[in-house]
Each structure stands twice: as structure tokens, then as C-alpha cells.
Symmetry: C2
Subunit: 346 residues, 2 copies
DNA sequence: CTGAAAGCGCTTACAG
DNA sequence: CTGAAAGCGCTTACAG
């Protein structure tokens, strides 16, 4: 039923002009009289002509595809970022090829290599903790934290921390437990720094790294928050919504009311933050904007490469951008309880 | 520094043979003496030769890329599936292009069209609720539920429900509240059916659809579970881990101990199910196996198309496969409380 | 067993 | 303003 997928030659034949002219008309390179161009465009639409990506790629040396390299699935941010990247890319006419690191240590390197072999024009990489993206033969946009050396686009994790710290301080919290997973993460380090700044000098903080805790007590061990609250901590400021969830339920089960007896906060505004009771106060990450910046910077870097040249080794996009995070206040944070306890922090 | 990316001609030149022979040797089509083939392979490895996908695609009419069409981000299953698909595909030499439906109604159709225009050889689609994937011009593998008409690969959601129902029945639960989001979902309908079967005739169930509840009470409204427990329901069997989380925290905040006073179960074993206290009893979905089946069926369908032919309209893979789900018992389910209440279910 | 040649569908100097 | 021709890097009949 459906007619053969139309090629350039078919279109040209149907119009009685050369393929060169059709190509020029459709790519809008000028060189064609307005009337003819219009006729050609109309016919192309009518026949549903779409240029073959293979033909174009072979001729131009550009695939029109970018790669998206992600750390392993552990990061629940993945869906938002992936969706946002895809949307931003397709608005600019690029496809997005998945390059998953699979949680293996050198998975990232392999994923990058696979993408290069597939001929991507460039890639967006969200590096694994502690990894640096070294010179690879194509433009790269890195999404990480502002304190990452080199050019990256990121949310302003430090300022997000500062906002959250200020929020807690304004509620009267002076003794705050900070809970993260790994001190090696640039993102988490930024958040911690901002949190301390926002809480101000009058506050006492202590930091718990789950990775270390679990190395001793086993995965999924209790975080010992009940004891911490007894010690006088009035707020648990976590560095991710997943940790916040863990903290929230650990307290609830022990009969410690949130936020009446202790506040709990998260980061990123992931799906469950708003679903849980009480809703989790968190910092929203605007994935759409981060993706937009990354893709814009990347495609500009790609398109800046002169035709036919290979990209300079280790091209990294020129941008260094930072988008603000936004405080989302829900019920899990409230006024600090009166200090009714004289225990020392251990 | 790095040498030019080697092309076939370069390899051939370096070895003093024709490009045809190099091509034949590397593709293992026979036709080349074992010794020569070995020499060619060695040289190719040494130079790091990787065939240009564009050249190959143009010549063979195959892109070596499959599309992955996903419903909007709401589905937290996304990461697992995407990762598993990518892995299965790359094992078979295929790349994976993202096609996100963006949550719009006709986003799915648009995503499919974009992928076709990009020249994918076939695609895996996880359809939006109620959508049927109609004839599109390439092979398709659909991941949905076994009760979806047409060929699909899926987890055995019905049997998963049955297992969960049996688990609850064995703990003495006779009055179980079923909580899902939408009755239009094939997956959820299967799970409900299985649940009822597993609970057996001796049980009373009632079903709550969050979509309807929220249409009246607004998004994020309480599920009214406290009242249900007072009515004598001893278990809340939800159809997803996100709903389980919502139920769990709603009960905890009201001081209803889980599982001492009521059990809560979920589905899919998503990341938070094991992080929360108490851990959520759930049915694990083996995304890796589902993806493997889908990709295998898809690539077989692709490779069954004779060279140069376009795929028969609306080719759908031949397979209809189903992988079992696995019960994961955690602390959120326990023995039913003694019936101490004579209220009628409303 | 090996090679010369054609051609996949485009885009782009170059002529006219 | 328009067209004829070359060529991007492969694979595949077809000859030898």
C-alpha cells in the first residue's frame, strides 16, 4: 500500500529538476529561486520525503547523533536527565544513543568507546564518581558539579545546600546531622559545603557517610538516627531523596515524629519525595535546564568544527554553566524542637 | 598524535590487498584463505580499524541501530529496562536510540516517527496505557503484559499477583485492600487478577484506584488507609512499589505499625523497596531477562528480512514470551492481626 | 582464493 | 539560478 520510501532522485525525477537542486532547496542553502524552492518543498512534504541519514552521514562525515553516557542505574536521577537530553537534542535535530556504564568500573570507558565506534558527533557524559573524562576524539559536555575541574554544566549544588541550610537555620535548627553516601562525590561535597555555609557559624554539624557505615555494619544497616536525635540533633539533612527516605522511615518506625521531633530533608525532588507522608522538603533540580545547556553547548561545539576536519583531540565544549536549584518546602521540615537534652555529641 | 581513523582502503593499502578482500576477511564470509584472513585481522586490530557505520549503512540498508520507545518518565521502571535493553542490544552489535514519548498523548506516535526517520532497523516499545502499536514500517517488539492482544514479551504479572496473593493468604490475611493507579493498565489488571486468584475464595478484597480518588480529592490526597484498617483490612496489596511507599508512610504517620497492625506489599522491587524501614515485600521483575527476550526476538525479526527488501508492513516479531516474577519477602508483610473488629466494609 | 567495479543516497565544489 | 559529476566508505555480485 504505502509507496516506497522516497529518495532524492525520485523527488527530482517527479519534478523534472536535478537532485542537486532539490538538495539545495531543501537544505535552504539559497542558490535556488524562491518559486522553485517552494515547489520542491511542497512536493517533498507531499511525498513525505525524509533524507536518508546514512547517505547524508557518509557524505558529510556527521552522523547527527550524540551519545549519552550515564553512570550505573543506581542514580534515580537518570530518567529525568535522559528525557531532558533527548528532548533538547531532538529539538536541534540530533538523535541520542544510550551509552550505559553498567555499573562496572571501566564501563564508562567502554561505553564511550562504543559510542565513538558508532560515529556519534559528540557526547554528553555524566561521569562516575571520581572519574575524569579524558581526551576522547569528539566534543564532550560534562554534567557534574560546579567544583569539578574543567568545563561542566551543572546545577548549583553548593547554593542548593546553602539554601537548604538557611531554611533549616530559619526554623531554629542549630544541631544538624548531615548524611551522604560518599565523600568522593563532587556533587555531595558541594552540597555539604553549602549546607554548612547556610546553617551559619552558630550551628553544629556532624557528617555521616553511609558508604563507611555500611562497610562496617553491612548494606542496609540502620543509620543510628534515633541515637542522634537523642543526642540533640534536631534535623537530618541528607544529600539525596533516597537517603531522606531511608532516614524518614527509620525515624517513623522508632516512633519519632517527623517533623515534630526531628526534621528530615533531601535533595533533587525525585518522584517519591512528594508521595510520601510527610512529604519531603528537598531541593529541586531543574533537569530540563541542565540538559538544555549541555546540549546547546555540545551542538555548538560540534557545529563549530569545520567541515571535513576531525575534531581537535579532547575537544570539550567551551561552556561552564550553572543552574540554580529551587527549595521545595514540604511537611518533613518544621521548627526545631526545644533543646531538652544535655547529651554530648559523640 | 593519534593517527587518522583508519579506513578500509588504508588497511588494504598497508597490506597490499584489495578492499574487497579485507572486507570479506573481516566479515568472516569465508572466501579468503585462512592465513590471509588472519593477517588482515591482526593488522585491523593493530590499527584499531572499526568499519564506518555510515558507509556500511548506506551500502547494506541497515543502520545497526534499534529504537527504544518509552512512555513518560512517570514509570520508575524506566532505568532498569533501558539499561537492560542497551546491554542486550550492544551484545548483538546494535546501538540503542532513545525515543521518549514525553508524556504527551501523541508523543508515542511522534517518537516512533522520529526513530523511523533516523533509520532504525527496528524498535522495542513499551506502550502507553491503552495504546496499541499499530503497523509501522519496521519490526517491533512490544513489552507489556501477557494479556495484551498480539505478540508481546512481558513479565508474568498475573502469576506475580498470584504469588503475592498466596503469600498473603499463607500469613492469614483474609481481608485485603488492593490499591492501583489505573484500571486501564493491562499490567495492573493482570496483577489484580492474579492477586485475587492467589488469595483464594476465602478472601474478601476491595480495590482502590488512585486515579479516581485523586480526581475527587486532588493529587496527593490521602488514600484513607487508616479507616480501611479500622474496617478490618489486615493487608494493603498495592500494584507498584511507589504506591506501597505511599501506603507505608501513610500508615506509619498514623501510628499504625507495619506489619504488626497491617501488612503492605508492592511490585517490581524498585530501588527504595529495600532502603525503607520496614523493607517492602514485593515481586521482583527481571528486567534483564525481559530485555534479552525482546531484543533477541527483535534482532531475529530484523535479520530475517531478506537483504534489500523493505520489511513487510507492520512486522511484529514472532515471539510471545513471558518471564516469571520472583517474590521478595521483606519486613513489611507479616501475620494477619487477629480480627478484633466487626465493622462492615463500606 | 582474490580483485576490479558498481552502487547504496546524499552534498558540494565547479561549470555553465 | 540550475545541473553534471565526483566522492564519502563500505559490501557484493561478478570475473578471473
Amino acid at each position: 500500500m504505502k509507496p516506497e520510501k522516497p529518495k532524492l532522485a525520485l523527488l527530482a525525477g517527479a519534478l523534472g529538476v536535478s537532485v542537486a537542486t532539490v538538495s539545495n532547496a531543501l537544505s535552504g542553502k539559497g542558490r535556488v529561486s524562491p518559486e522553485l524552492a517552494e515547489r520542491i518543498r511542497a512536493k517533498a512534504d507531499m511525498l513525505g520525503y525524509v533524507p536518508s541519514v546514512a547517505g547524508r552521514a557518509l557524505r558529510t562525515g556527521r552522523s547527527g547523533v550524540i551519545g549519552l553516557v550515564l553512570p550505573d542505574i543506581g542514580n534515580p536521577l537518570f530518567p529525568q536527565i535522559a528525557q531532558a537530553i533527548e528532548q533538547a537534542a531532538s529539538m536541534r535535530g540530533y538523535g541520542v544513543l544510550i551509552g550505559d556504564s553498567r555499573g562496572e568500573v571501566d564501563g564508562q570507558t567502554q561505553a564511550i568507546a562504543r559510542l565513538i565506534d558508532r560515529g556519534v558527533d559528540g557526547m554528553v557524559v555524566i561521569p562516575r564518581r571520581g572519574t575524569r573524562v579524558s581526551d576522547i576524539g569528539c566534543p564532550v559536555a560534562v554534567i557534574d558539579s560546579p567544583s569539578t575541574p574543567g568545563n561542566t554544566v551543572s546545577a548549583d549544588h553548593w547554593d542548593g545546600g546553602r539554601q537548604m541550610g538557611a531554611h533549616l537555620a530559619s526554623l531554629g535548627h542549630r544541631r544538624v546531622l548531615l548524611v551522604g553516601t560518599s565523600p568522593l562525590s563532587n556533587v555531595q561535597a558541594d552540597r555539604i559545603g553549602g549546607l554548612k555555609e547556610g546553617l551559619g557559624d552558630g550551628s553544629i554539624t556532624e557528617t555521616v557517610w553511609i558508604e563507611k557505615l555500611e562497610a562496617n555494619l553491612g548494606p542496609g544497616c540502620p543509620l543510628g538516627l534515633v541515637a542522634r536525635v537523642a543526642q540533640g540533633f534536631t534535623a537530618i539533612a541528607t544529600l539525596s531523596d533516597l537517603t531522606a527516605l531511608r532516614a524518614l522511615t527509620e525515624l517513623q518506625v522508632a516512633g519519632i515524629a517527623v517533623p515534630a521531633a526531628a526534621s528530615v530533608t533531601g535533595f533533587d525532588d525525585l518522584v517519591w519525595a512528594s508521595v510520601v507522608t510527610p512529604g519531603i522538603t528537598t531541593m529541586r533540580l531543574n533537569a530540563t535546564e541542565v540538559a538544555q545547556l549541555a546540549v546547546t553547548a555540545l551542538t555548538q561545539a560540534i557545529e563549530a568544527i569545520p567541515r571535513g576536519e576531525l575534531s581537535p583531540l579532547g575537544t570539550v565544549m567551551a561552556a561552564r554553566e550553572c543552574v540554580p536549584m529551587q527549595l521545595v518546602i514540604r511537611q518533613s521540615s518544621g521548627p526545631a524542637v526545644q533543646p531538652s537534652d544535655q547529651g554530648q555529641p559523640s
